[in-house]
């Protein structure tokens, strides 16, 4: 970061200290540190993951943004890059991984599948977008997004980080420092614990309809 960008205006710096001293806000220096070292989780779901690897390789080189240290463990990662189709069979694992990440954590939905189901949306084993379960910070369109698009998405994430303020962020507030998403489970179909009342009501309604129908037949 250049001296100009870092310095908050309004303070005179004596000439002999220029270039040695910078006066800035805590937010700026805090965000500068975070945005320059966003460690993604090493986590590829499908085709999009290959473009993610390509973006890590020499030609596009995400290391320029401090994002080359892929961590296989969620506990060491800052950002979950959901690169690929989310399936019902996989979503419990993904939510568990997300819950294991430490704050501050970000989620980026890469590609059509992660954003909304993509070409496979109608599939019986497909979850139509990761945002049905996790809070997404940046969506990157494409099938697959090119590495350039991925890099652009990462820059967007950096811009988002830049706007956060240490006095506002949830992980420094009182109380639990992280929000956990209830882990869905596999029953006759995928069951989201947050939707249990709705499922119950709807299924009862269907049963009543079926009963009425059979009565009229009888």
């Amino acid at each position: 970061m250049s001296n100009n960008e870092l310095n908050s205006p309004g303070y005179e710096i004596p000439e002999e200290l220029e270039g040695k001293v910078a006066i800035t806000t805590l937010d700026k220096i805090y965000n500068f540190g975070r945005r320059s070292s966003v460690w993604p989780m090493m986590f590829g779901l499908a085709c999009c993951a290959i473009e993610m690897i390509a973006a890590q390789a020499a030609r596009y080189d995400m290391a320029r943004f401090g994002m080359e240290v892929m961590r296989p463990s969620p506990r060491q990662a800052d950002m979950m890059l959901v690169a690929g189709t989310v399936t019902k069979k996989m979503i419990p694992a993904i939510v568990r991984l997300y819950n294991q990440m430490a704050e501050p954590k970000y989620v980026v939905a890469m590609g059509a599948c992660a954003s909304g189901g993509g070409p496979f949306k109608e599939g019986y084993n497909v979850v139509a977008g990761i945002d049905k379960f996790l809070p997404v910070d940046v969506y990157i369109p494409g099938c697959p997004p090119t590495p350039q698009a991925l890099v652009a998405g990462m820059i967007k994430l950096q811009e988002k980080i830049d706007k956060q303020s240490i006095s506002q962020v949830r992980w420094y507030k009182k109380g639990a420092d992280t929000v956990e998403t209830p882990i869905p489970f596999l029953g006759p179909d995928l069951i989201d614990p947050r939707h249990i009342p709705e499922i119950k009501a709807k299924a009862a309604e269907l049963a009543a309809l079926a009963a009425a129908a059979s009565e009229t037949v009888a």
Binding site: E51, A54, A58, P72, M90, N125, L186, P188, K200, A203
Partner: protein, 580 residues
């Protein structure tokens, strides 16, 4: 193109009353009564010489009230496939004898047919669901099973066309999402069954022994679905005795994207972009096989230039596939990223060509029935020539020098993961791993398609069947691919690249077809059935990753768990294709 003479043995005469010729128009092969299936299958293997089973899939003939299982077998000495079928009445429980005792390679494919169609294979050693989870409601590939977002049986859907008004699928679905439950289902009262129960019950069959008076317990280790060396969302569950693998079971379905169900709703043409997403490293090879199958049914001849373009794109694809395999394998072995960076450098150049001709780096959507969609322009042709004649030969040498002699690499690979040639054939292994076991079987020579019979090239073979040989074999294949490319680039002539006019809808005559190609990872086949409508009645994909993984346990038993990573890397799986 000449294919060797088809078997002269008439099975119907040989087994009167047990076998009949499939006389439905457009169909071929034999129908074997299910009571005699194993007997006739053994005859086909032992007396007729069809030593390998390649494809096994179920078809639901809803109107005829019949479930059919079709089998494709081939001889490792060459020649086309032989098709035979077994039928059962469509009344649960549907039972058909298992052919695992004849061809062990049928194991996972039968589990798949059980999972998606609910056919019980009597005599199967370990019949569990494979792609969906245990406890999932219904058999999703049956024709009368409808997904939550179901709109209509066939596309194009009226709701989106022609008025072009779009309505979110969520607003239509009963439960407001892509889920469905039975009437009266109560999540609170529902007693969760453990989806893993059957898996662990299977693992309990491996009992530990008392050695030197000490009784030791086995340890069960789970790898995946989130594990950096499983190349995606693959999971393996190993039973270990100390460090030694006693048993290892693949657990999959974490990327099951329902290609086949969606494929049977799509129009014929709409499936081509979906094939790109199977083996997403080789989208330029995937559609070839599908196009072959459909062209066979429609009787289209592909123009010369298009045939050459297919070969050029296909072989470029093979080169980058093998390079990536090397890079990723080294990553897994601990050499973090350097070889992968070398591999990706060349891959980017090949992808540039794909992007120039098709518009997309990875999802090319380039094949059409009867050719390819676009010609190669001058500038791209120049680029391809530069790459094939000037750059790649030197670069491959460089990568070879960098990797092949490395002492650590050689000592980790040599003698590990042995699979005998007999087992390779029995377990339906195809592709480089079969050839590394000394079986010179390559569909480009054994059952030629396209114009491969015009080129001079060798089928590389290695004989030790260990990881090192599998590695060297792929290196040899890259050299052969370059040879083919150089000849193709010299021979290619001007001309049209598509037979007839470009079309959106295709009328495919009633019947069945099986198209197969030698994809970089092994045999890629499509079994398609048409009932004369605008979309396939059955669209089955036989992928090399899925079938080759059948032999994984055999290769791993007795080795150290750490070698599993290398063995899996060399099977060369890609999840899009494994789970479909």
């Amino acid at each position: 193109m000449t294919t060797p003479v088809v078997e002269a043995i008439n099975l119907a005469e040989k087994f009167p009353g047990k076998v009949t010729a499939d006389a439905r128009p457009g169909y071929s092969g034999w129908i074997i009564s299910k009571e005699n299936l194993v007997e006739v299958a053994t005859f086909i293997r032992d007396e007729m010489g069809y030593d390998a089973l390649t494809n096994l899939c179920a078809i639901d003939y809803l109107e005829q009230k019949m479930m059919e299982v079709t089998y494709q077998v081939f001889k490792t000495t060459g020649g086309p496939v032989l098709t035979f079928k077994a039928q059962a009445e469509r009344v649960d429980p549907i039972e058909i004898p298992s052919v695992v005792s004849v061809w062990p390679g049928a194991e996972l494919q039968e589990r798949e047919a059980y999972d998606l169609y609910g056919i019980r294979f009597v005599g199967h050693p370990d019949l569990r669901r494979i792609l969906m989870w245990e406890g999932f409601d219904g058999y999703p590939m049956r024709r009368d099973w409808k997904e939550a977002f179901y709109e209509e049986d066939a596309k194009p859907l009226k709701s989106r066309w022609p008025e072009g008004k779009h309505k979110l699928a969520e607003t239509r679905a009963t439960f407001g999402d892509n889920v469905a439950f039975k009437p009266g289902f109560d999540p609170d009262k529902w007693i969760p069954s453990d989806p893993e129960e059957l898996l662990y019950a299977t693992l309990k069959n491996y009992k530990s022994e008392v050695k030197d008076g000490i009784k030791t317990d086995h340890v069960v280790v789970n790898m995946g679905p989130q594990h950096p060396s499983t190349h995606g969302v693959f999971r393996a569950v190993a039973v270990l005795d100390g460090e030694i693998v006693v048993s290892i079971k693949p657990v999959m379905g974490y990327l099951h994207r329902n290609h086949e169900k969606i494929g049977e709703r799509n129009t014929w043409l709409q499936n081509i972009p979906y094939t790109d997403r199977l083996d997403y490293f080789n989208s330029m090879y995937n559609a070839w096989s599908y196009a072959l199958a459909v062209e066979k049914m429609m009787g289209i001849t592909v123009p010369e230039r298009a045939e050459y373009i297919r070969v050029i794109m296909g072989e470029l694809s093979r080169i980058q596939n093998h390079l990536i395999l090397f890079g990723m394998l080294w990553n897994d072995l601990g050499s973090y990223f350097t070889p992968a960076l070398y591999a990706f450098e060349e891959r980017e150049l090949i992808l540039d060509i794909f992007e120039a001709v098709s518009g997309s780096r990875m999802m090319c959507n380039y094949y059409r029935f009867g050719g390819v969609v676009r010609d190669i322009d001058e500038a791209s042709m120049k680029k391809i020539k530069e790459l094939v004649f000037d750059r790649l030969p030197g670069k491959i040498e460089e990568i070879d020098r960098l990797l092949s002699e490395n002492e650590i690499f050689v000592s980790r690979m040599k003698g590990v993961g042995y699979l005998s040639p007999e087992d390779s054939i029995a377990y339906s292994v195809t592709g480089p791993n079969l050839r590394a076991a000394g079986v010179p079987y390559d569909i480009r020579r054994a059952d030629p398609y396209g114009i491969y019979d015009r080129f001079e090239f060798d089928i590389p073979v290695r004989h030790n069947s260990d990881l090192l040989d599998r590695y060297h074999l792929r290196m040899d294949e890259i050299h052969q691919s370059l040879r083919i490319l150089q000849q193709a680039l010299k021979q290619i002539t001007e001309g049209p690249v598509l037979a007839g006019k470009p079309q959106y809808t295709h009328r495919v005559p009633v019947g069945e077809a099986y198209g197969r190609v030698e994809a970089p990872k092994g045999e890629l086949g499509y079994y398609v059935v048409s009932n004369g409508k605008g979309n396939p009645y059955r669209y089955h994909i036989r992928t090399p990753s899925f079938v080759n993984i059948t032999s994984m346990e055999k290769m791993c038993v007795g080795t150290k768990i750490a070698d599993f990573v290398a063995i899996l890397g060399m099977v060369d799986i890609v999840l899009g294709e494994l789970d479909r």
